[in-house]
Point group: C2
Chain length 108, copies 2
Amino acid sequence: MPDLQPTFRALADPTRRDILHLLGGGDMTIAQVTDHFDMTRAAVKKHLTVLEQGNLIRVRPQGREVLNSLNAAALSPIRDWIGFFDQFWDTHLDALKNAIENKDLTHE
Amino acid sequence: MPDLQPTFRALADPTRRDILHLLGGGDMTIAQVTDHFDMTRAAVKKHLTVLEQGNLIRVRPQGREVLNSLNAAALSPIRDWIGFFDQFWDTHLDALKNAIENKDLTHE
DNA sequence: TTAATGTGATACCTTTTGGTATCCTATGAG
DNA sequence: CTCATAGGATACCAAAAGGTATCACATTAA
């Protein structure tokens, strides 16, 4: 089981989530990604580094350029983590259970 | 469609994710949650506030105490966001596609 | 009523984060 | 070869994050 922290961390920023969507459309160089945002290449590069640390993208040098590609598989452990909480879905049974346990049977 | 940012933000901290697991075992006061961590009540309270902003817990005063309860439903939009990327699962077709496009047909 | 207890709120500190500007290196086009 | 161009690396900055200590307030126990 991988360390989820770098991935959760990478997902916590809206720009980075946008980048993932962008890369869904195809591999991109850093310059190409930067064209879609109102910030410098250096800032985008930092986001890409965080995404790589979270295993969410693959970085592949191609001559002078560097292609960044989506690695959607990294989302699988995140989904699994969320899955643990499926058992806690509130079907309003909790509220009923609490009412009974608290013996709060007053009518208003 | 709710704003996912507060929820993603709340999930980005390991202590907060631990708190969610804790609350899966039942509602807890701030003091009870604090007992499980090596930090002050004030710090835990801050984490609980962030979790509440992310809609991941419900906070309910009960006399002098305050009960915190898990709201697993808040994870649903997150799961949906992740679901968008299902179409990008790498079945090694991407690698093949790139190889063809690049006409990189050298053997080794 | 008085004291203990559970919580809220604030000020403060340090580290991390998201961003810029700048300079350096490497590759590819003419 | 020369030089424009894609990136890497670093220093720097302001704001946010995670934590503590402290004090004030409300509720409950004695």
